[in-house]
């Protein structure tokens, strides 16, 4: 067991080395990744002085916020409507669809709409819809255990004691579901924020998000400290979501 423990910690270390190296290099006062030139914040300054990057991060944040809000709310409703165990396999199936899959079919649908109805949804609206379509099953799966956690008896008690349906929802169900709501919101936010493929197929050239900007460098194999800084900033929602998720699981798991 001792050897296994060392092995496990070695793996943990290996998993965080690439991310760690990138974050460290974003503070490196040298353009070359293998030369340490001292600590600096100038790449972050360069990033903040770069209008396109600002716009991209802002676009990503707005889309991710909208998607997280809509997805959590709809996921909650879906969880209520589909409380039966039978349906869960369907939504779980949709969660693990590979990255390309329906994004391209979605693009095909948008393109049809553009050709025949003259409605051009490529751009922010399309990205919002595509992200919603793939985060909803995720939100649903995350919410449904918590929804079944709200026992029938609690709701019945509130109704018998004279609370209206709306009142029951606001003062009984909502407080119980609040932690799940926060966890789902953050996880969907993180997922929407750093998704590249779903965005790439749907977006228009003038709507650039942070992952699209990152891809322009990554796909050409270009190392640039300013981009390391961008990538480090993009890590923040992911890490926050991970921490919140494990805290939520710990409390209810």
């Amino acid at each position: 067991m001792r050897a296994l423990k060392i092995y496990t910690w070695a793996l943990i270390a290996a998993m965080y080395v690439p991310i760690g190296v990138m974050v460290v290099l974003s503070f490196n006062n040298s353009k070359l990744p293998y030369v340490w030139g001292g600590f600096t914040l100038r790449w972050y300054q360069a990033l903040f002085g770069w209008d396109l990057a600002w716009q991209a991060v802002l676009n990503s944040t707005v889309i991710a916020l909208a998607v997280a809000f809509a997805s959590t709310l709809l996921g909650l409703f879906m969880a209520f409507a589909l409380r039966d165990d039978r349906y869960i396999a369907i939504s779980q199936g949709a969660v693990v669809m590979p990255e390309v899959s329906e994004a391209l079919a979605f693009a095909a649908a948008l393109s049809l709409l553009k050709d025949y109805a003259n409605v051009n949804l490529f751009g922010p609206v399309g990205v919002f819809l595509a992200h919603l379509a793939y985060t909803l099953p995720m939100a649903h799966v995350l919410m449904s255990p918590y929804v079944s956690y709200v026992g029938r008896s609690v709701v019945d008690a509130a109704r018998i004691l004279g609370a209206s349906e709306l009142r029951t929802m606001l003062s009984v169900i909502a407080p119980i579901l609040f932690p799940a709501f926060v966890a789902t919101f953050l996880i969907v936010f993180a997922n929407s924020f750093d998704t590249y493929i779903k965005t790439a197929f749907i977006t228009s050239p003038d709507f650039v998000t942070a992952p699209i900007l990152l891809w322009n460098y990554a796909a050409r194999g270009r190392g640039d400290p300013t981009i390391y800084a961008l990538a480090s900033i993009m890590l923040i929602p992911s890490l926050a979501a991970a921490v919140i998720y494990f805290r939520a699981v710990k409390r209810y798991g």
Partner: protein, 243 residues
């Protein structure tokens, strides 16, 4: 009221999911030739996915075993947390590491199949840990103790009792990772520098270069159908442990 809102929300979801399929029907009836990927490309993708799944499971099994038996919450959380980091971020950070490795050891990883495998193992490793952990944790102590009492050594107990009993979990993890890896786009593109050409890259090019919606959508939906099937298998295998 809650029910009505929920049903409206659900209808919206169904529409979001099925509109793409309606579009596909239109392209199918409109004709057009389906451009299938070449055999060598399929072989590359298949081999990459196979190797990735095998390595990820081999690496993850001992860690999952330790986690299920003695691990604490922190170790579990640390191993699983990278799931939340986006693929593109992982690919880009590996790109940086590759350039450092190349400089100091002379080993070229960028643009090679090995580099792509490293990237994909890095990406799918947490999935392997999760699936195997679920299988090993459900393992009952009784057969293990029986084997030990009857005189089997530690290694024998593991090889002939524990490993066969967790085999369904290994199979589930394998199918899951294999099918994820089959549809992978980002790792071959970023770490393979478009030199390692997979079905994912092909679908990508069909859309961005050839603007061929029909072939692209059909191929991508085929991949999606495959992974739905895989998910079904995985969910079923994991469920069977809980009884």
């Amino acid at each position: 009221m809650i029910k009505k809102v929920a049903l409206v929300a659900f209808a919206a979801v169904v529409l979001l999911f099925y509109a793409p399929f309606l579009a596909l029907g239109y392209y199918m009836s409109g004709g057009g030739v389906l451009k299938l990927p070449s055999t060598s490309m399929l072989a590359t993708t298949f081999m990459l996915a196979l190797v990735t799944a095998a390595i990820a499971i081999a690496l993850a099994y001992p860690a999952a075993y330790y986690l299920a038996k003695r691990g604490n919450e922190l170790e579990f959380a640390l191993l699983i947390a990278p799931l939340w980091v986006g693929t593109l971020l992982k690919a880009y950070s590996l790109l940086v590491v590759f350039s450092v490795v190349e400089r100091f050891t002379g080993i070229v990883l960028w643009g090679t199949a090995l580099g792509v495998v490293v990237g994909m193992v890095y990406e799918y490793f947490p999935y392997a840990v999760l699936t195997l952990y679920a299988a090993i944790e459900k393992l009952s102590e009784t057969p293990t103790q029986a084997a030990r009492v009857l005189g089997a050594s530690r290694a024998q107990t593991f090889l002939r009792v524990e490993l066969p009993l967790t085999m369904p979990g290994v199979v589930a993890a394998f199918i899951l990772i294999f099918l994820f890896a089959m549809g992978e786009v980002i790792m071959p593109a970023v770490l393979g520098a478009w030199k390692v050409y997979t079905v994912g890259s092909y679908i990508w090019d069909l859309y961005f270069k050839a603007r061929d919606f029909l072939s692209g959508s059909v191929l991508s939906l085929l991949l999606a159908a495959l992974s739905l099937l895989a998910t079904y298998v995985v969910v079923k295998t994991i469920r069977s442990f809980s009884i």
